[in-house]
């Protein structure tokens, strides 16, 4: 299946009851998949909203009503959703937001890029908040992470962003779905469906008392600490004896793996560290690798965004180089291999014992 379609199928199997979206390249296949497969499922809703802003607010409404709801878009549309995401985070409402990112800034390009890392991990909207960010790098991971996104979102009552890109969205790969669609998911307990046999309930974020808001902020951050402890995920690939470790996420990690395989064939000891949760960023796991080597190459398809987190994680314990391709230009494995090779020799890694 294509990546976009795999997300749709996985969402339906995860019990997503409401999908609200708006057309934007390169994720339209996902919106269309939901139109075809979700809209006629009993009890389910598909709406092509009038804008991305409207869509995220419909997600908010559905989440208030206690059901699993999802929206998707690409970079410029995700910019529009930031206010809504801030509200979801503030009200502790689960929601899944899929970003199949493309080149930016501005209207940009329709080709895959990774320049929404800051937007996703720094809480792109206003206020102090975080969203869990999952970065898949294959169609199978798109399917698996979609299911995980709904689970995490409900478990911690935080919005979850799936940060894909135009390439894995459009790629066709075999995929195995590990879950059947649940018949009916229970309604979440803290929801608004009419105050029958209980006092009326309010879901809000505004307060005229800053001290009240301060306590809400502290409470959110205590939860974020728990998420950091329990859910941080990363993959290491050939790092045990690596003299140079590439740090990359999503599609860039896929490209890097190809380059690393060739590098190994050429006798270079290179490995890959792949963050899977971009927030919470796997700083501790990355820091452990300085026992193996002090040389890291941050490779991203942007002007350098994740590299900030790499610096924050490693401090002065490592030499961090950067290679980036912005704008939706897809780097090739051979190009990345050239960069690795040059760096390997420049740093004298070929002559080390």
């Amino acid at each position: 299946m294509s990546g976009n379609a795999a997300i749709g199928e996985a969402a339906i199997r995860a019990g997503c009851q409401c999908y609200f979206g708006y057309p934007i390249t390169p994720q339209n296949e996902l919106t269309e998949y939901m139109a075809l497969h979700l809209s006629r499922r009993p009890g389910c809703t598909f709406i092509q909203a009038e804008s991305e802003i409207s869509a995220i607010n419909m997600v908010y409404g559905a989440s208030v009503a206690g059901v699993r709801a999802m929206t998707s878009s690409s970079s410029p549309g995700i910019s529009l959703k930031q206010e809504g995401i801030s509200y979801l985070a503030a009200c502790e409402l689960p929601a899944v937001i899929v970003n199949m990112s493309r080149g930016g800034p501005g209207l940009g390009s329709i080709s895959a890029a990774q320049s929404d890392y800051y937007q996703s991990t720094r809480g792109g909207g206003h206020g102090d908040y975080r969203t869990i960010v999952l970065a898949p790098s294959s169609v199978q991971e798109l399917a698996d992470f979609t299911h995980r996104a709904f689970e995490l979102s409900d478990k911690y009552l935080v919005p979850v962003i799936i940060l894909g890109d135009g390439m894995i969205g459009q790629m066709m790969e075999p995929v195995e779905f590990k879950h059947e669609a649940p018949a009916v998911l229970p309604i979440r307990s803290r929801s608004l469906r009419g105050a029958k046999d209980r006092p009326s309930r309010i879901i809000k974020t505004f307060t005229s008392n800053p001290a009240e808001l301060e306590e809400i902020n502290w409470s959110l951050y205590r939860r974020y600490q728990l998420i950091e402890k329990e859910e941080t995920t990363a993959e290491t690939y050939m790092t045990d004896d690596a003299r140079l470790i590439v740090v990359a996420f999503g599609i860039a990690a896929r490209i890097a793996k190809g380059a690393i395989k060739s590098a190994r064939d050429n006798g270079m000891k290179v490995g890959l560290f792949r963050p899977i949760t971009l927030w919470p960023f796997p700083s501790k796991k990355l820091l452990e690798l300085v026992k193996v080597t002090h040389h890291f190459l941050d490779f991203e398809m942007n002007m350098g965004q994740m590299i900030d987190d790499v610096h924050l994680s490693l401090g002065d314990k490592a030499t961090i180089s950067f290679y980036g391709r912005p704008g939706g230009v897809i780097a090739t494995p051979s190009e990345v291999l050239r960069v690795i090779t040059r760096l390997y020799h420049q740093k004298g890694l070929d002559t080390k014992k």
Partner: protein, 251 residues
């Protein structure tokens, strides 16, 4: 001894933070009376706006979910589609519904979302201190039209209800006022009809309520109530703008 009037059950006993003579207070009370009479308190979910009525949840004893500015119609759409048994109403001001929320409003109406919209039109942005609203009248002085609203620079007061009426999904739209006993009685009937349209599953229903804002109009309450008749209602005529509930019921 018969009780002629007493506080509705679904209106919490709490001093309104609204100004003396403000239309919000009357509107809140009428909506609660309708909710009580229709027996829907335990099914109702309300969506208040940012604005003076941001604290509407202090008064309506029903489930309420805050919405971002202008997005009430979208939030209500999500609420109603996810839980069609609920009676969902939005309570929105003139900026919320007719400026920042124009797209959401028109498209919710166009889709015939089975929600009830209560639209409080007081021709200014009240909570933020009296700036121009889309419904500000010509020559009206506000803090952002200090020389009076000039159509050449600032456009005209917008009749959003008439525009919404053009969508096929809107089934019932009426403009009322709450500035006299007769008008208040009519307003309540309209509100009831708008909730009934949702209960009957007919489509989008809207009641626009011309509401006095003595503070930002710089008038006494009594003067402001008169101004609604003498000036506002001339620009925004009272009455039924659209009503196809009869045909829809027949369908």
């Amino acid at each position: 001894m018969k009780t002629v009037y007493t506080r509705p059950k679904s209106l919490k006993k709490r001093v309104f933070h609204y100004c003396p003579g403000c239309g919000h207070s009357i509107a809140h009370r009428l909506i609660c009376e309708v909710i009580d009479e229709m027996g829907i308190q335990d099914k109702t979910v309300g969506v208040p706006p940012p604005g003076c009525a941001v604290f509407a949840y202090h008064y309506f004893d029903v489930d309420m979910a805050e919405s971002a500015h202008g997005r009430g119609a979208a939030v209500a759409t999500g609420l109603k589609r996810a839980n069609p048994e609920a009676i969902v109403f939005t309570y929105q001001g003139d900026g919320d519904l007719a400026a920042i929320g124009t797209a959401e409003t028109i498209h919710a109406a166009n889709r015939g979302e089975k929600i009830t919209a209560i639209f409080i039109n007081n021709a200014v942005y009240g909570m933020t201190g009296g700036q121009m609203a889309p419904t500000t009248l010509q020559q009206m002085v506000t803090t952002t039209t200090p020389y009076g609203r000039d159509a050449k620079l600032e456009g005209y007061p917008i009749r959003i209800s008439e525009m919404i009426a053009l969508t096929k999904g809107a089934v019932y739209i009426e403009r009322v006022a709450v500035n006299s006993p007769a008008h208040i009685i009519k307003a309540k009937k309209a509100i009831r009809k708008a909730f009934q349209a949702q209960i009957d599953g007919l489509g989008y229903a809207l009641v626009e309520i011309l509401s006095p804002c003595p503070t930002n109009w710089k008038m006494t309450p009594v003067e402001s109530w008169k101004w609604v008749d003498e000036v506002m209602a001339k620009e925004f005529p009272l009455g039924v703008i659209k009503d196809i509930t009869g045909d829809k019921n027949a369908d």
